[in-house]
């Protein structure tokens, strides 16, 4: 687990393509918060114990971790991490202060023939993946490490594939969602902000609004000129939105 900063605790749960790194948005958040950034089991430097097999296992791993943290904390879930954060929040919120979800997967919104969540796992070509996930793919090429990058070390490639494998263990079928999660999102009782890249084509802003509308009293905010990774593509806008929300009085 990476940790930096001072102030109220902020647990950041990463997406499947962005594990184990410390990015500028995290440094910026660390100016106001104690940022805790673990890697999910099977991602980055985290081992995946054999018995951690499905999303529910991952959620309980984090519930165990949260019981060990003293005091209250804020939770920021990004993409796959947003799904985990929502699963945590519907189960237990007694020391959860505020919740931010960004470009989160995890629920089913449309009908059976509509794929709400783009399958980026079949995209082995780096350019194809960047074009599908970034508003500005050239910026993505600079800011996100992906297979296909020139001179990518073998160990980095292996770690990346291992993360994708773990994501598929937790979210292959149903694809990246829990069909029962949406009906329980009403249990989230803490102030919640749903942030979304206005050009996210992995999960659309309309999907984000559906997510937000299922959480009582929550708010929705777009990050302009951003794809699926607004915290990497527009870190200033993103950090300002998160900081303002987390600093509000209840």
């Amino acid at each position: 687990m990476l940790r930096a900063g001072q102030g109220p605790q902020l647990l950041v749960l990463h997406d499947y393509e962005a594990a184990g790194h410390w990015y500028p948005y995290q440094s910026a958040l660390a100016e106001r918060f104690t940022v805790l950034a673990p890697s999910h089991p099977g991602f980055g430097t985290s081992e995946r114990p054999e018995q951690i097999e499905i999303m529910e296992d991952v959620v309980y791993v984090y519930l165990d971790l949260l019981e060990e943290l003293s005091g209250s904390f804020n939770l920021l879930g990004l993409g796959l991490g947003g799904w985990i954060a929502a699963e945590i929040a519907v189960r237990c919120s007694h020391n959860l202060h505020r919740l931010v979800l960004a470009d989160s997967v995890g629920i089913k919104v449309s009908g059976p023939t509509e794929a709400d969540i783009l399958d980026t796992f079949i995209m082995m070509d780096r350019d194809e993946l960047l074009a599908a996930t970034w508003h500005d793919p050239d910026l993505g090429a600079q800011r996100l490490t992906l297979p296909g990058e020139p001179d990518l070390p073998y160990e980095t490639l292996v770690a990346h594939i291992r993360g994708r494998e773990s994501a598929l263990r937790y979210g292959w079928k149903p694809f990246m969602h829990n069909p029962k999660l949406r009906q329980w999102l009403h249990r989230i009782s803490v102030p919640t902000l749903v942030l979304w890249g206005d050009d996210d084509r992995v999960v659309s802003p309309a999907y984000g609004r559906a997510f937000q509308q299922a959480i009582p009293g929550s708010r929705f905010q777009l990050i302009e000129s951003a794809g699926h990774f607004p915290y990497l593509e527009q870190p200033e806008q993103f950090v300002a939105a998160v900081t303002n929300f987390l600093s509000e009085e209840r």
Binding site: F121, I122, M124, P147, I161, L168, R169, K173
Partner: protein, 384 residues
């Protein structure tokens, strides 16, 4: 050495430019490019060729794949049922049932027992994990394929050999009353064959004394895998395996002369010229991350030339004498006792296929048939 006739039942009449544009032959090629009338004619033609194999004294092999024009046998037990009723002598080898992708193992046990009874015990039952491209059509999580294969296998074997209801509460499957009717005719169960091309799969096969099959693997790769099989048997105190324990699949064409075989048979190489979408061929978790990374760094799979493939034992073509020599080499150097012969691929027309089959049956088979010991019906029939 026994010989098995095989075709994947291709549907080659699709527009190649569509495959190029999609960068994939499999999974996502729209079915609008398949004409059901033409598919029906092909099914009948391919089944006729299998029946001809029986008339010639050859055994028969079938397989199955999904959502691909390389193989429109998408329900192998159906093809087997059609052939069982129209053949007399041939062993019917199903290689194999894609266990990771079949949602109901008890149903597989029933289908195989049905075929075994119907064929008077001519069934040879293959089980496969399924190639990577089967994960998306069946929507099976790639990291779970091996575990699913093993649990499904355990259920099927128990269903065949337990002749009363039993309970199964495993990881992927849960039943409270497993008791399939019929049960298999061959006792204790039909012969089980498993294809594998990675070293870590071999001990599991050897421990169970199953037949190990290699598909389109070079001589040296076969030898390396077979050594693991031998070593596992030695470690466990099991009898040393004979050639009846090893099968090899190659593309095979027999012509009147080497030159004629080279020219006529090259059409088989259609099968090797696949357009492979790496998202479907190398999904995360199907292979260990290190192996998956090596494929990504090598940018895919090598595609050998006709001559290279010939030198490796991946294709076997030539005059009857040449083919005899190459199959002897497989027997002598790789301990192969079952020759699985893909004698049709792509556009290779039925008259050429039948001519090649005829030449094999009349001029090659008599010379190699006696190689090694005849295939034993069950492993325990062999002495130590």
């Amino acid at each position: 050495m026994r010989a098995y006739y095989f075709t994947e039942m291709p549907y080659p009449h699709y527009p190649p430019e569509v495959v190029e544009a999609l960068n994939s032959q499999r999974v996502i090629l729209p079915s609008e490019y398949l004409d059901p009338k033409a598919a029906g004619e092909l099914y009948n033609r391919y089944l006729d060729e299998h029946e001809y194999a029986d008339e010639l004294g050859l055994d028969i092999m079938l397989n199955e794949h999904h959502q691909t024009p390389t193989c429109i046998d998408s329900a192998m037990p159906l093809a087997a049922a059609a052939l069982v009723r129209r053949t007399k002598q041939a062993k019917i080898l199903l290689l194999g049932n894609p266990l990771a992708h079949r949602d109901n193992p008890v149903r597989v046990a029933e289908e195989m027992a049905f075929l075994d009874c119907l064929s008077d015990g001519r069934l040879i039952c293959g089980f496969v994990r399924g190639v990577p491209t089967e994960c998306h059509p069946a929507n099976t999580s790639p990291p779970l394929t091996r575990e699913r294969f093993e649990e499904s296998h355990d259920i099927i074997l128990k269903a065949w050999t337990t002749h009363e209801p039993f309970n199964w509460e495993g990881k992927f499957w849960h039943y409270r009353y497993v008791n399939p009717w019929p049960r298999p005719l061959q006792q204790p169960h039909p012969p089980v064959w498993i294809p594998a091309s990675s070293a870590d799969s071999i001990p599991w096969i050897a421990e169970r004394q199953y037949v190990h099959a290699t598909f389109l693997l070079p001589y040296q790769a076969q030898q390396k895998l077979h050594k693991i099989y031998f070593d596992t048997c030695a470690e466990l105190g099991l009898p040393e395996p004979g050639p009846e324990r090893f099968a090899h699949l190659a593309l095979v064409y027999v012509g009147e002369t080497d030159e004629k075989a080279r020219v006529e048979g090259e059409a088989l190489m259609w099968y090797m010229k696949a357009v492979r979408h790496m998202g479907f061929w190398n999904p995360p978790g199907y292979l260990p991350p290190e192996a998956s990374a090596r494929i990504m760094m090598g940018q895919g799979f090598p595609e050998p030339s006709w001559e290279d493939a010939n030198n490796m034992g991946v294709v076997i073509w030539g005059s009857p004498d040449t083919v005899i020599q190459k199959m002897r080499k497989l027997h002598d150097e790789c301990n192969v006792g079952h020759m699985l012969m893909m004698m049709q691929a792509g556009f290779l027309q039925t008259d050429m296929v039948r001519k090649s089959m005829r030449l094999f049956a009349r001029e090659v088979y008599p010379a190699i048939r006696e190689l090694g010991e005849p295939a034993a019906p069950a492993p325990q029939a062999r002495g130590g």
